[in-house]
């Protein structure tokens, strides 16, 4: 076992240890049980409800819950759009940055409201400190809290019988933000500053270069402008809320966002923390923690082989660079293009798979320079629908929709009415589940096909051929599944990609949310049927295997043809003939 394997094991092990305490705490938050933070936060919570006219005890039917989600997200979208367009006339713009263009502002507003954090811009050159804080940091919190609220509503639908309501969105949103995301972010932000992540309201600092350089234009360069900003506060929530949008262009590869191996370890842990722990939250909320553990095992069983594939591909390095003049030996061997020395190959490959499994999308190495099979692991994890850990909230509700499909498939095999957690799965539930699962892939493949068919789409490709197809496929896979990471070689800041991508992000987020709430409403209204001899228990290795097979089969059947033309061809091209 190399140190690289050891640090991967350490990170996954520590995340697993946090599942029960954090998951249990989150269940208390959504079930309005007392928590240790009540003394500090309950008065704030009450003030929010009082001033906004929310009656916290009054629950909503699924239609009203969905309406509240959409209304709140529309307000968030409008606010982010306006702040970007108006930033030169607003305070905290020490760099004197101009207004963001309309198509880019549209794309960025949807991106952050939908918890995607696709970035067609470089933060340090485009956005003022005020835009980073008041527009983006806020969305990092509330888009995450939105996903967690929808998850809580679906869990209530599964837990209740003959019920007409799913909870109150305003309460779930507020409590998720105040009790879960804010305290964790505060602690992580300060830990990151201790490692060197910057946190300042100044624009920049300037250094005199020790060895003056020459620019590409031949002009001498004697100074280096170091960008500052309120970075640590945003980096903390960008990881915890599976957002992923960086303060600086290089995202978590930038030394001011991720300066040390320890900061990388903490940020990686933060990426997996809530998506893993919410499995236990689900188990607690439906009154049977074994159900939650089974879901966590399913996620892990899909994640680990793809992680191993990426680590192996990146460690093996690029055969095109094999030469007696170059030493590519461990630990700094392998494919170091686009990677940082302080992280090395193992921590970079772990990050690349964790950030695409969880729908985070921050990167500590450039994904466009991954080996074809490393990029394939990242692509496929997103294409599974962001349900392997997935986004905060969204990963779990996505996986539960797959669980309903899995019991249906099992029911077909033995000829009995399928049940999940005592709820009969009937035609309406199956229609909703199918529509949740099938629409995002349709969107991803349709948009990618359109992009490679149109000159506006092809013009942005850096490297024509299989790699260029991978770039386009990656872009729409990332946006359609609300991940946000990118193959950076694609020039995505064009009206074509900004607009089509914005639509893909919006549909990829709100379509599953509305249908998941409808599903929660339908399940909550049902009576509970006692388990009979034909009931398939859903916490057993048999069900775990079945669910893994359903998730992988749906993803593979949909995407293998496209993957074969992109990363797989590129991989075969690299092999010596």
């Amino acid at each position: 076992m190399t140190p690289g394997h050891l640090q991967i094991a350490l990170c996954l092990g520590l995340a697993a240890l946090c599942v029960k305490p954090l998951g249990g705490f989150m269940a208390r938050v959504y079930q309005a049980e007392p928590t240790p933070l009540d003394g500090l936060l309950a008065p704030v919570e009450r003030a929010i409800y009082r001033t906004s006219g929310v009656q916290p005890a009054r629950e909503m039917r699924w239609q009203a819950y969905a309406g509240a989600v959409l209304a709140f997200n529309a307000v968030g979208f409008a606010a982010v759009y306006l702040v970007q367009r108006l930033q030169p006339w607003l305070p905290l713009n020490p760099g004197g940055l101009g207004p963001v263009g309309p198509d880019l502002a549209f794309n960025t507003a949807i991106s952050f409201a939908s918890n995607t954090n696709w970035q067609a811009y470089a933060g340090e050159a485009t956005l003022s400190h005020l835009t980073q804080m008041l527009a983006l940091t806020v969305q990092n919190f509330v888009s995450a809290a939105t996903g967690m609220a929808v998850m809580a509503a679906l869990c209530r639908g599964l837990a209740r019988a003959s019920a007409s309501t799913l909870g109150n969105f305003w309460v779930d949103l507020t409590r998720g933000t105040l009790y879960i995301l804010a305290p964790l972010s505060l602690a992580l932000a300060l830990a990151l500053v201790s490692q060197g992540v910057v946190q300042s309201f100044e624009a920049t600092s300037t250094a005199i270069l020790v060895d003056p350089a020459t620019g590409v234009d031949g002009a001498p360069v004697a100074r280096q402008v170091l960008p500052l900003g309120p970075a640590a506060s945003q980096v903390a929530i960008k990881q915890l809320g599976t957002n992923g949008g960086g303060v600086f262009g290089a995202n978590s590869a930038h030394p001011f966002e991720n300066p040390t191996p320890l900061s990388s370890f903490l940020e990686l842990l933060a990426i997996l923390l809530i998506p893993a722990a919410q499995c236990y939250t689900f188990g607690r909320m439906v009154g049977d923690p074994r159900q939650g553990w089974a879901i966590l095992v399913v996620m892990t069983l899909i994640f680990v082989p793809l992680l191993a594939l990426a680590v192996a591909a990146e460690s093996a390095g690029n055969p095109r660079l094999a030469s007696p003049a170059i030493a590519a030996v461990a630990p700094h061997g392998g494919n170091m293009e686009g990677k940082e020395v302080r992280f090395g190959v193992a921590a970079s490959a772990l990050w690349a798979t964790a950030t695409t499994a969880a729908s985070n999308g921050s990167v500590n190495a450039m994904h466009d320079s991954l080996m074809p099979l490393g990029g394939l692991a990242a692509l496929f994890l997103m294409q599974l629908g962001e349900v392997v850990f997935g986004g905060v909230g969204s990963g779990l509700y996505g996986m539960l929709v797959f669980a309903i499909v899995a019991v249906f498939v099992a029911g077909l095999m033995v000829g009995r009415t399928p049940e999940y957690l005592g709820k009969k799965v009937e035609a309406r539930e199956m229609k909703l589940a199918s529509l949740v699962i099938l629409v995002p892939p349709f969107l991803v493949l349709g948009a990618a096909a359109l992009a490679v068919a149109l000159p506006q789409g092809r013009a942005s490709i850096l490297q024509p051929g299989p790699h260029g197809l991978s770039q386009v496929l990656y872009a729409f896979t990332s946006m359609g599944n609300n991940n946000g990471s990118a193959f950076g070689g694609l020039d995505a800041d064009t009206p074509f990609y900004n607009t089509l991508g914005g639509v893909a992000m919006a549909v990829g987020r709100y379509w599953p949310i509305v249908l998941t709430l409808a599903l929660g409403g339908a399940l909550g209204a049902k009576e509970r049927v006692p388990p009979g001899p034909g009931t398939l228990p859903t916490h057993t290795p048999l069900f775990v295997t079945l669910l893994v097979a359903v998730v992988v089969a749906v993803g593979a059947l949909t995407f293998v043809p496209a993957l074969a033309l992109g990363p797989i061809v590129e991989h075969l091209n690299l092999q010596p003939r």
């Binding site: 140190p3 640090q7 350490l10 001033t51 906004s52 006219g53 929310v54 709140f72 529309a74 307000v75 968030g76 340090e124 940091t137 806020v138 509330v142 507020t174 933000t177 105040l178 300060l190 500053v193 201790s194 060197g196 946190q199 005199i208 270069l209 020790v210 060895d211 350089a213 280096q224 309120p230 640590a232 506060s233 929530i237 290089a250 590869a253 930038h254 030394p255 001011f256 300066p259 320890l262 390095g317 095109r320 003049a325 170059i326 030493a327 392998g334 170091m336 940082e340 020395v341 970079s348 990167v363 500590n364 450039m366 320079s369 991954l370 490297q463 193959f487 950076g488 070689g489 590129e570």
Partner: protein, 188 residues
Amino acid sequence: MQVRPALVVFAWLSVLTGVLYPVVVTVAARGLFPSQAGGSLIREADSVVGSALIGQPFDDPRYFWGRPSATAGFPYNAALSGGSNLGPTNPALIEAVHARVDRLRSADPTNPAPIPIDLVTASGSGLDPHISPEAARYQVDRVARARGLRPDAVRALVLAHVEGRAAGVLGEPRVNVLRLNLALDALP
């Protein structure tokens, strides 16, 4: 019906998470970790010579060279971070790597050792402050010759600047190029 809560709750959460939270973190960071919060700057004789976390371009044979940087404008342009984004099959990547090999070889023609890969591939941020200990050792003879120093003295300086894995497990061993070069300049 949902409009009032949507606006008011949004306003509350914007103030709490978009203003109060970053301000609290900034104040606490300034109190607890002032140097880190301000960019870990290295000062010499009242002027800032760099950040301990951000690499700088070096191409004088008297200095250790860092990793190739693909930032726009000039290498190690900290105002525009980013990688090359070249894929593994891109001919431009292969050409760039071979050009870097040739340049390192011509700066040190008598060195037959193979060149560590991190010295010929661009970093993700374009600002990587580190090289591997192997990449530093590869450059010892060239730097010693250019400065008229004994290679052993330079080698000892490199060894003193090797940072190990955190807790023996996390990350990879590395050498901070700017710190090493500042220490070289400070040699008597």
